[in-house]
């Protein structure tokens, strides 16, 4: 059990393990299949990562604030189904704000339970994962939801449009990333999120309204989920009830890969974006190498566990320790 010094190769891997692994993967993929580094492929990966990416931005706030959000996948299904249904009933102009309001209401409910009632966020959001799934099925009557007139609506712009040659989902992901970076790193609110996640008791003793801050992180998360639901609905103009199923784990994986600590108090929006891209490119690379789609579930989890291990190793400065 050698101590990892700053100069040792082990120490370097412990501190930058995720980037090292990413570079090795990229080089390997590029050698195995040159198509991997083609512009169209890269653009495609980013576009398909946008939905997970947008959700990961919101979950970053929740995690830095010291909590978890496992409900985002199921909540995203809800947003998608609701906006598709209201599209035909109210028209897109009203459907979108209505869907955002309903999704934010769910976020407010979770934020109330975790922030004000101080219930464990793992239990609350795991429960909400299931409860919102049931809500979605009740709302849709279990049927898939489709827009009637798929050709004649401008609603498809969020998922399929291009502005200045850049796909709109990428633009929305980028815009949201910039806004949320500013919010987290530059505003008093962002500082409070770090304080509450870093040491909630000390934050309270400094006059920070801890419950309100936690509540707001879940509102931000819900806003991001609604945005992801909008992109998803607009891209397909029809959807199953289970479209977001399992995405909460990929979202969490991206946030952890980016280096946010599950204990709260550390992480940045930029790092999460990196985490999203790493996850997207690795999955894409494996697919290009001919790995079966279903095997990706396994690989994703191997990557997450590796990331968590390296995160802990970096903190204690060694790869393995007999205590804690």
């Amino acid at each position: 059990m050698a101590e990892l010094t700053k100069k040792g190769i082990g120490g370097f891997i412990a501190r930058h393990g995720i980037l090292v692994a990413f570079v090795l993967f990229m080089v390997g993929f590029a050698l195995a299949n040159p198509r991997f580094i083609a512009i169209e492929n890269i653009s495609g990966v980013i576009r398909s990562s946008a939905i997970i990416g947008v959700m990961a931005l919101g979950v970053t706030f929740v995690v830095i604030g010291g909590n978890l959000d496992l409900s985002v996948g199921s909540m995203m299904s809800f947003s998608t189904i609701v906006v598709l249904d209201l599209h035909d009933k109210l028209g897109p102009t009203l459907a979108i704000p209505a869907m955002f309001a309903m999704t934010l209401a769910l976020g407010a409910f979770i934020g109330f339970l975790v922030g004000y009632l101080k219930l464990n966020s793992l239990i609350v959001t795991l429960g909400m994962l299931s409860a919102i799934h049931g809500l979605t099925l009740t709302y849709s009557g279990g049927k898939n939801m489709d827009i009637d007139d798929k050709q004649g609506t401008w609603f498809s712009i969020f998922g399929q449009g291009n502005v200045a040659g850049i796909p709109v989902p990428i633009l929305m992901f980028a815009l949201l990333a910039v806004v949320l970076t500013l919010l987290l790193s530059k505003t008093p609110f962002g500082r409070k999120v770090y304080a509450v996640g870093g040491n909630g008791t000390a934050a309270t003793f400094s006059g920070i309204p801890r419950a309100r801050v936690v509540f707001m992180t879940y509102m931000i998360s819900a806003f991001c989920v609604a945005t992801a639901g909008l992109i998803q609905a607009s891209r397909s103009l029809g959807s199953q009830n289970t479209v977001g199923q399992g995405l909460e784990l990929e979202v969490l994986a991206a946030v952890i890969l980016g280096g946010a600590s599950l204990l709260g108090g550390s992480g940045t929006v930029f790092k999460t974006v990196i985490g999203v891209l790493i996850l997207g490119f690795i999955q894409n690379g494996l697919l290009l190498m001919g790995l079966a789609f279903y095997a990706q579930y396994v690989v994703t989890w191997v990557i997450i566990i590796l990331a968590v291990w390296l995160d802990i190793a970096a903190k204690r400065g060694r790869l393995w320790s007999p205590i804690a």
Binding site: L182, P188, A195, G207, P209, G265
Partner: protein, 505 residues
Amino acid sequence: MTDQTPALRLEGIVKTFPGVRALDGVSFTVMPGEVHALMGENGAGKSTLMKVLGGIYDPDEGQIFIAEQPAVMTSPIEAKAKGVVFIHQELSLADELSVAENIFLGELPRKSLGRVDWGKLYADTDAILKTLNVGFNAKTRVGDLSIANQQMVEIARALTVDPRAVIFDEPTASLTDAEKVVLFEVISDLQSRGVGVIYISHRMEEIFKITDRISVLRDGQYRGTLNTAETNEEEVTQLMIGRKLDLSRNEATHEMGEVALEVRNLSCGDLFHDVSFTVRRGEVLGFYGLVGAGRTEIAETLFGLRDPSAGQILLDGEEVRITSPQDAIRRGISLVPEDRKGQGLILGMNCRDNMTLPQVDDMTAGPFVSDGAEVAIFDQYRDKLDIRTPGWRQLVGNLSGGNQQKIVIGKWLSMHPEVLIVDEPTRGIDVGSKSEIHNLIRDLASQGYAVIVISSEMPEVLHVSDRIVAMFSGRVMREFTAEEVTEDSLIQAISGLTGSGAQVA
């Protein structure tokens, strides 16, 4: 004391730690059938001596004799086997197991194939419990017992060996008066069986009620043994404190201002009752008492963390209701909490961000936090408080205790509070930084702040305070001015004894 062979004798025990001579030739004798009090201030060496006796520390010099036979203690188990048993302040019982299982934990009677002999276990346990005259039996789940009865289980555990000496360490800390009576009966029963009892407590009243002799330690040295019947509180206190402390007393060097904070008959559930005091601008009001006397809870109430159940709080003569820490801060009340790392600081955050945290909402240029304004505040208070750090980017967790405490103090000073409450200002801080913090507190008063200092260290309270409130068990026992206070009157007040002019609780 019919038997003239001592149950236990310690001779010339020396124990040093790097830089400290914790025990300096301590000798101490306990006769069979005697209750012997061991007294001394915090840090006098009582715990170290007991750890030597219990086999946790090896003495550097000296010898332990049990019934005049030299004994070497290498572990608590060995100490118990030799008849020396400890009843600790913190109980170490498994709540989910029965009384019998707890008493014989690790040495359950066995039948063939390693099966537990439940019949023998319960019979043996009930036999011991019978001698203690308790109201529960061998099969009772320990978690269902009161604290006092759990303590009885600990005592029963001690009786599974035939003890020569039983050491009680602050046994009444969490007992009610009725429960104390039962405990004292058990101690007197041990006494009549010829067991030597060592009784460690700060509570004079109990000491004078149940002990035969009192031995006093001070600064790691044995200071003498008194016969309880022939002495009094003053004499014992004198022995504990010794020379007059040469710490310079605080002398008011500046004018006192108006009353900034007044508390009238404030109560909060079981935590404190009917507490009244005032603090003037330019004054340091000290709160002294044992841990659990309710001092921190008063501070937390003033800071909006607890709801008072009765009484009034007046700021500048106007009654206020403080509903949250935000509310307290807005009204100019600041709290430097007792647990610096747990409550005072966010260790993973840098020095500047910790210091400006309560006012981050006001440090903005447009929607964003202004780096310049924050750095200016940090620089100002770094210089003012002489905080030694490589720069504001340094994580607070990397600073020394003294510098961390200055960050917390700076955090509140930069808010220009009316009333500054400092709870245990120098806990865990080295001696040099201690006096810096003391001077700082005096300076703040001379600048016109109203300061409340809560401390468990008598020299500290005496050194910084203009007036001292002595608390015992949630009540204000007495208020002293710096001129009239003496160490022994203070000790008496916080031990629940009535000194001259004291209020009877």
